[in-house]
Amino acid sequence: MKVVSRDGLAAWLDSLAQQKTLVAPRDVDGVLLYRPVASSAEIVWDYTRPVLSIKEAFFPATERLLVIEKNQQRVELQETLPEGEQVIVGVRPCDARGVKALDTLFIETEPVDTYYARRRANTTLVGLACKEMGETCFCTSVGGAPDDPRDVDVMLAEVEGGYAVQAVTEKGEALLAGLALQDVPGEPPKPVLNEPVPLPETEAWPPHFDDQFWEDMAERCLSCRICAYVCPTCRCFDVRDEALPAHNGHNRYERIRCWDSCTGEVYRRIAGGHNPRADKGQRLRNRFFCKFYYYPQQVGSAACTGCGRCIDSCPVNIDITEVMHHLAEVSR
């Protein structure tokens, strides 16, 4: 394996931070988040996973789509595309898998989402293999692995004295140019795995659409948006025009899109007031079906990467693995 020492890695990351935006897990007032760092010294290396996924880097919580300038009857539109290269370091395989799932929708399904695609092209992913799965992790049950290098450009794995470095893509190779690596015999240690969770067949879901299970589970649901927002693959958004300060006497607005969640009560309410998902059970069912049935049907890839964030963060113990166990049970 090719290995870099801790110091060598730190020096390389410091120089990267000078050239591009370097994003890595950082302690923000006691909360671990992927955030821009000015130097490698700010990076946290010992963690299960940050509270939020890296989807923010491609699909920000608030994104400007257009700037609109109105002068009486004249309107001018300005498309505002994201600029700037970024390198995200410390990406867990489950988060990288999440980006791949979003790629399937935003890039590989027509029409291409211009904004997502631009950020994606401008980003290099440096993954960090997990030495062990977290208590709520289940990536191996949904086709992933704690050391899966498939979806990153460079894969790091902690070894004695430093990190094993693997270039996965051409982009990754290009990023690694100039980083001195040592040839060391051996392989990175295999990660410690959890008990697998049964993954129901995709076709197992439709027959259970009308089960009482959904309503029962949803009774305690708060209809907040935590699960959707911490999830690496949830991508529902809202679009609206909002005012900007006037300029030269002209009214200015920005058309923005922001994160939204199907768990919200008014999410699906149509003009006139009709709401086909007025009940919590209908909404929660939609979220799980979207993950395991709709998204695969619509764009061809699964929308759960087994990261376990929703399990960690749900205040009322709505547990996606409990749903999977139940579906597997009733479809036996």
């Binding site: 789509l65 211009t114 659409f209 679009v239």
Partner: protein
């Protein structure tokens, strides 16, 4: 710089309001003349397709295109004032600039309808996306069979496209029936639900196609009535409404089960709707 070459799915074309007409209390008809190359994009839209209309400053919302390209380049939309975007639109006048994104969605299979009798049932503002179907039939009269139009509203003042009823009625092989929930003095036509009218008119299902649009509850009961009249699910078409924010299959909001109303619809046969996992009700 603007990007109106269609490469950005979220960037609208600009359009000038050339028609702003009151059709009913809180309902206006807007005619939009596209600018900056939008005409090429909209040269060949089909009945049933929709577009996002921007009231810049408030946002954009999806509306069924209420006109047919055979009748000219002006895109028409019937808009009921219900929320922030439609309120902003209603404040606008001729000469003002809007945005238009589209044409989006699938369409009524007008070619497959050729030679058949058509029964078109429009409830309230739901009649708007059906008007291009009527226009296409009337403009290509020989291609289609008998046309039965059932048009309903809560009150006579809420009936839309009233100034066109004469031209519909007087077209060859065409009949028009009107009904309202609540008549006014001088109302000479039927009173009652659209389904009651449908039962009374009792169109034959032989070689016929039913097309319905209106509030979800109305679509539901109209379908039951069509079934009772002998229409198969394959013979019945609807156009469904959903809350949308992108219209291009990204924002995730408009799904009914695994179908996206914006991409797989908004036009569905009842055979498809019946197989939808999730009810639109």
């Amino acid at each position: 710089m603007t990007s109106l070459n269609g490469s950005n799915g979220m960037a609208p074309y600009l359009g000038k309001l050339v028609v702003v007409k009151d059709m009913a209390p809180e309902i206006k008809l807007f005619g939009v003349e596209l600018l900056n190359g939008g005409n090429a994009r909209f040269a060949d839209y089909k009945p049933g397709q929709f577009a996002f209309v921007s009231a810049f400053g408030a946002g954009e919302a999806p509306f069924g295109i209420a006109s047919s390209p055979q009748r000219g380049e002006v895109l028409e939309f019937a808009v009921q004032r219900l929320g922030s975007v439609t309120t902003e639109l209603h404040e606008m006048g001729e000469g003002d600039t809007v945005g238009v994104r589209g044409p989006l969605g699938n369409h009524f299979p007008m070619d497959a309808f050729k030679g058949k009798d058509l029964v078109v049932l429009g409830g309230g503002i739901g009649g708007a996306p059906l008007r291009p179907v009527l226009q296409t039939v009337l403009d290509n009269r020989a291609d289609y069979g008998h046309l039965t139009i059932l048009w309903a509203a809560r009150h006579p003042s809420l009936l839309i496209f009233r100034d066109e009823y004469e031209s519909w009625r007087s077209a060859p092989d065409t009949e028009l029936h009107l009904t309202v929930d609540e008549p006014d003095a001088g109302w000479e036509h039927d009173v009652g639900l659209s389904t009651t009218l449908l039962e009374k008119v009792a169109p034959s299902p032989k070689d016929a196609i039913a097309i319905t649009c209106g509030p979800p509850v109305m679509i539901y009961y109209a379908d039951k009535t069509f079934q009772a009249l002998g229409f198969t699910p394959e013979q019945s078409y609807v156009t469904l409404e959903a809350r949308m924010h992108c219209g291009i299959g990204k924002c995730g909001r408009c799904n009914l089960g695994d179908k996206l109303i914006c991409m797989d619809g908004p036009v569905f046969s009842m055979a498809e709707v019946g197989n939808l996992m999730e009810s639109f009700l």
